[in-house]
C-alpha cells in the first residue's frame, strides 16, 4: 500500500492569495517577516540568508559533538554571553544516580562550558530546568529575538513573538562558532483560532486538536503564526504549550504576536530591561504584530467552540480523538497510508477500534515536560487532585519543569497536595517525556502523559503513551481511566 500519499487538503483551509513575488515590501508584513528581516546579516543572491542568533540555548544531549568540532578546528564560542547551557534531558529526578553514559554526557557539558566560557545552570545549582522552561522564566526569551537550540521543542519560545527554531548538532556548532546560521526563508501559515474555549478545554487540547486537523506533516516548511481570540485569551503558559507542539505538526516554528499578557509576564524577570530601558523595549515590542493586510502562504481557520478535551490513541500526535469519543477504526481512513499507520499504531497500543476512550485504563500518569510543566500547569492539575487519591492501580509522577517552578510550587503547597493524593513529587528535568533517565514506562504499561510525543517507545521500550492536558492527566490518575474533565465540578479558571 502506498505510504507516500500526501496529506488531504483541509476543509477549513482558505487558499491564500498567491504570493508571486515572494515577500515584497509593498505588501503587509507578517510578524515573522519583521523578526526575520531584523536579523538578516547578509543575503547574497542565490544563497540562504545569514541570520543572526540572539539567544542560543544548549543542553547535554545535542552539544558534546558540537564542542568537539570546535576543538578540532581550533575555534572559539563567538558569543558565550548570548549562550546559556542547562542540564535537563538526562538528569535524575530522584535519588537514583545517573547511569554511566548519562554521567559522562553531563560531565562533558560541564567541561565544555568551562573550557569555552559558556554559562551553565548545572544540576543542583537551583537554577537548572528544562531548557524551554528556563529561557522564559529568566526573561531571556523576549519578543522579536531569534532563539535557537538543539532541541525540537525550541518552538516554545515563539509564544513571546520570538522567532525560535530547532537545530541539529552541526548547526549548534555553527552557531557556537559564528552566532549566525545560514537559513532558507520558510513559508508562513496563519492559524486563526476563533470562538470561546469551552470549560475544561485547555491550550493542550487546542494544539492536539490542531495537529489532529492539519496532520503531523501539515506544517512542513512553515512557520505557524497562531492568532485569533483564543490566543489572545490564553496565558503565556498556554501560548507556550501551543507553540511548543508546532514541531509536532511538522512546522519549523510557531509564533504569537506579543501583547499586554506577554509584557506582564516578562516585567521584572532577571534578563528583562528595567526602567527607561523597559519602556523603550515595550515600544519596540508593541510594533511586533502582523499587518492587517499581511499575506501568508497558507491560512487555516479553526473554531474551538465545539472542541472537547483531546486524548491521543495512536503513535503520533496527530492521532487524537475527543475524550468522549472512541478509538477509530482504521478501515474508515480514506488515505491508505493513514490507514496503515493507524493499524500499526493500534497493534502497538493494544487497542481495539470502537473502544470508548473513557473505558481505557492506565497504569501510569506523567505530569511534566516542556509542554506542560510550568507553574500554571501544576496548579491546574493540583486543583483536580486536591483532597482526593490516585487510583490504587496507578503510579503517578509530577516533574516540575525547572528548579524555579519546583520552588514556587512548594511555596504554594502544591507538592503537599500532590503527595497527599499519592503522586510522586520529583526534581526538575525532562524525565518521562523521553525516558532518558530512569523515569521510564515498563513494556506494555499505559500512561496518560502531559508530554508532547506518543511515538513508539518514547517513554520507555514497549510503553504506550496517551497525550492529554494536565487536567485530564490529573483526573485520569484518580479514576485509573480517562476522564472527561468537563464533568468535574471545578471552578472555571479565571
Amino acid at each position: 500500500m502506498p505510504c507516500v500519499r500526501l496529506q488531504a487538503t483541509l476543509g477549513a483551509e482558505t487558499p491564500a492569495e498567491p504570493v508571486a513575488d515572494g515577500h515584497n515590501a509593498r505588501m503587509g508584513s507578517t510578524l515573522f517577516d519583521r523578526v526575520w528581516e531584523a536579523h538578516v546579516v547578509e543575503e547574497p543572491p542565490g544563497e540562504p540568508a545569514l541570520l543572526y542568533v540572539d539567544l542560543h540555548l544548549v543542553h547535554e544531549v545535542t552539544s558534546a559533538q558540537a564542542f568537539d568540532g570546535l576543538r578540532l578546528a581550533g575555534r572559539q564560542v563567538r558569543r558565550p554571553d548570548l549562550t546559556l547551557a542547562t542540564m535537563d534531558h538526562n538528569v535524575p529526578t530522584d535519588e537514583r544516580p545517573p547511569d554511566s553514559l548519562a554521567r559522562a554526557q553531563l560531565e562533558a557539558l560541564r567541561r565544555n562550558c568551562e573550557e569555552f566560557g559558556v554559562p551553565l545552570f548545572a544540576t543542583g545549582s537551583g537554577r537548572e530546568g528544562i531548557v524551554h522552561i528556563i529561557g522564559p522564566e529568566l526573561g531571556l526569551t523576549q519578543p522579536g529575538l531569534t532563539v535557537v537550540c538543539g532541541d525540537s521543542h525550541t518552538s516554545t519560545h515563539g509564544a513571546f513573538g520570538a522567532l525560535a527554531f530547532p537545530i541539529g548538532t552541526s548547526e549548534v556548532e555553527h552557531v557556537l562558532a559564528t552566532q549566525t546560521l545560514p537559513q532558507h526563508r520558510p513559508d508562513t501559515m496563519l492559524l486563526d483560532l476563533s470562538g470561546d474555549l469551552p470549560f475544561g478545554v485547555t491550550a493542550k487540547d487546542v494544539i492536539l486538536g490542531v495537529i489532529g486537523r492539519i496532520g503531523v506533516a501539515g506544517g512542513i516548511g512553515h512557520v505557524i503564526e497562531y492568532a485569533g481570540e483564543v490566543i489572545r485569551g490564553l496565558s503565556m503558559e498556554g501560548r507556550m504549550t501551543i507553540c511548543n507542539m508546532s514541531i509536532e505538526a511538522g512546522a519549523r516554528a510557531g509564533i504569537v504576536a506579543p501583547d499586554d499578557t506577554t509584557f506582564a509576564f516578562l516585567e521584572g524577570r532577571p534578563a528583562v530591561p528595567k526602567g527607561a530601558e523597559w519602556e523603550r523595549a515595550l515600544d519596540r515590542w508593541r510594533a511586533l504584530a502582523s499587518d492587517p493586510d499581511a499575506t501568508y502562504d497558507r491560512i487555516v481557520e479553526i473554531d474551538v467552540r465545539e472542541l472537547a478535551p483531546q486524548v491521543s490513541w495512536g503513535t503520533n500526535p496527530g492521532m487524537v480523538v475527543p475524550v468522549d469519543g472512541v478509538v477509530p477504526d482504521p478501515a474508515t481512513f480514506a488515505d491508505p497510508c493513514d490507514r496503515e499507520n493507524a493499524e500499526r499504531a493500534l497493534t502497538y497500543m493494544a487497542l481495539e477500534p470502537g473502544t470508548s476512550i473513557q473505558d481505557i485504563q492506565v497504569d501510569r500518569v506523567f505530569i511534566g515536560s516542556c509542554t506542560n510543566a510550568r507553574l500554571e500547569d501544576l496548579r491546574n492539575a493540583a486543583r483536580v487532585v486536591a483532597g482526593k487519591r490516585v487510583a490504587p492501580s496507578v503510579r503517578a509522577l509530577v516533574v516540575p519543569g525547572s528548579a524555579g517552578v519546583k520552588r514556587q510550587a512548594e511555596d504554594e503547597g502544591l507538592d503537599r497536595i500532590f503527595e497527599a493524593a499519592g503522586f510522586e513529587w520529583r526534581r526538575a528535568g525532562c524525565s518521562m517525556c523521553l525516558g532518558m533517565n530512569a523515569d521510564v514506562l515498563q513494556p506494555g504499561e499505559r500512561c496518560a502523559s502531559t508530554s508532547n510525543r506518543n511515538f513508539e517507545g518514547r517513554q520507555g521500550r514497549g510503553g504506550r503513551t496517551h497525550l492529554v492536558s494536565p487536567e485530564t492527566a490529573a483526573a485520569t490518575a484518580l479514576a485509573g481511566r480517562f476522564v472527561d474533565v468537563r464533568e468535574l465540578a471545578l471552578e472555571p479558571v479565571a
Binding site: Q142, I220, G250
Partner: protein, 189 residues
C-alpha cells in the same frame, strides 16, 4: 564534509509514513558523546523483528533508502542521520522530510532527495535490492529528475564546510553586532 556527487548502489525500501527520529535512533543511544558508531543502532526496536523491511536479505548493503512521507519527523537528534550514514546510506528518498532531519542530512552530506509521491512509489515498486543511480550533478535519480536548492547542491558537490564559509563573513557579522547591540546577556544572570 565529503563531497557528494553520485550515489550508485542498491535501494532499501521502507514503505512507512511519518517515521520519527525516535524510531531511527532511540534515546538510549543518544547519550553517547562520540560522533561515530551509530550505524548498528538504527531502527533498533523494529530491527529486532525478523520481518522488518530492512532485515530482508535484499535490503542488506543498500546505499539508498526509499521511504514514505514526513520521514525523520520529531526530535532534532542528529544522531539519526549519523546512524543512517554510518550504516552505509548515502541518499534518502521521500515525498517529504521532517525539516530538521532534512537540514541535518544536508549538513553531513547524506543526500535527501524529495520526489513526487508517484515517483517514490515507482522506486518502491522496484523493490529492495534494485540498482539505482543518483546523480547530484545532473539532478537525476534513475529515470526521474529532482530539485535541490542550488546553494545546497553546490555545497554538497564541493563538500564545503559551512562554518568556514560563514567565518569569512566576520566583517559583516561584526558590523551587524555593532549596529544592533544584543538586548540580552546570559553573562549577568
Amino acid at each position: 564534509m565529503k563531497p557528494v556527487r553520485r550515489v550508485e548502489g542498491r535501494i532499501a525500501v521502507l514503505d512507512r509514513a511519518d517515521v520519527d527520529t525516535d524510531q531511527i535512533m532511540p534515546k538510549q543511544f543518544i547519550k553517547r558523546i562520540d560522533r561515530t558508531g551509530y550505524g548498528e543502532s538504527i531502527f533498533f526496536e523494529w530491527a529486532k523483528k525478523p520481518d522488518f523491511e530492512l532485515n530482508r536479505p535484499e535490503a542488506r548493503g543498500a546505499s539508498i533508502l526509499v521511504v514514505g512521507r514526513n520521514f525523520g519527523c520529531g526530535s532534532s537528534r542528529e544522531h539519526a542521520v549519523w546512524g543512517l550514514q554510518d550504516a552505509g546510506f548515502e541518499a534518502v528518498v521521500a515525498p517529504s522530510f521532517g525539516d530538521i532531519f532534512r537540514m541535518n542530512c544536508l549538513k553531513i552530506g547524506l543526500l535527501p532527495v524529495v520526489l513526487p509521491e508517484e515517483d517514490v512509489r515507482a522506486l518502491m515498486n522496484l523493490g529492495s535490492g534494485a540498482a539505482l543511480v543518483v546523480d547530484l550533478e545532473e539532478q537525476t535519480i534513475g529515470p526521474f529528475g529532482f530539485e535541490l536548492d542550488p546553494y545546497e547542491r553546490q555545497r554538497l558537490l564541493e563538500g564545503l564546510d559551512d562554518i568556514a564559509l560563514t567565518l569569512r563573513r566576520e566583517d559583516e557579522i561584526a558590523a551587524f553586532e555593532a549596529a544592533r547591540p544584543s538586548p540580552i546577556s546570559t553573562a549577568t544572570l
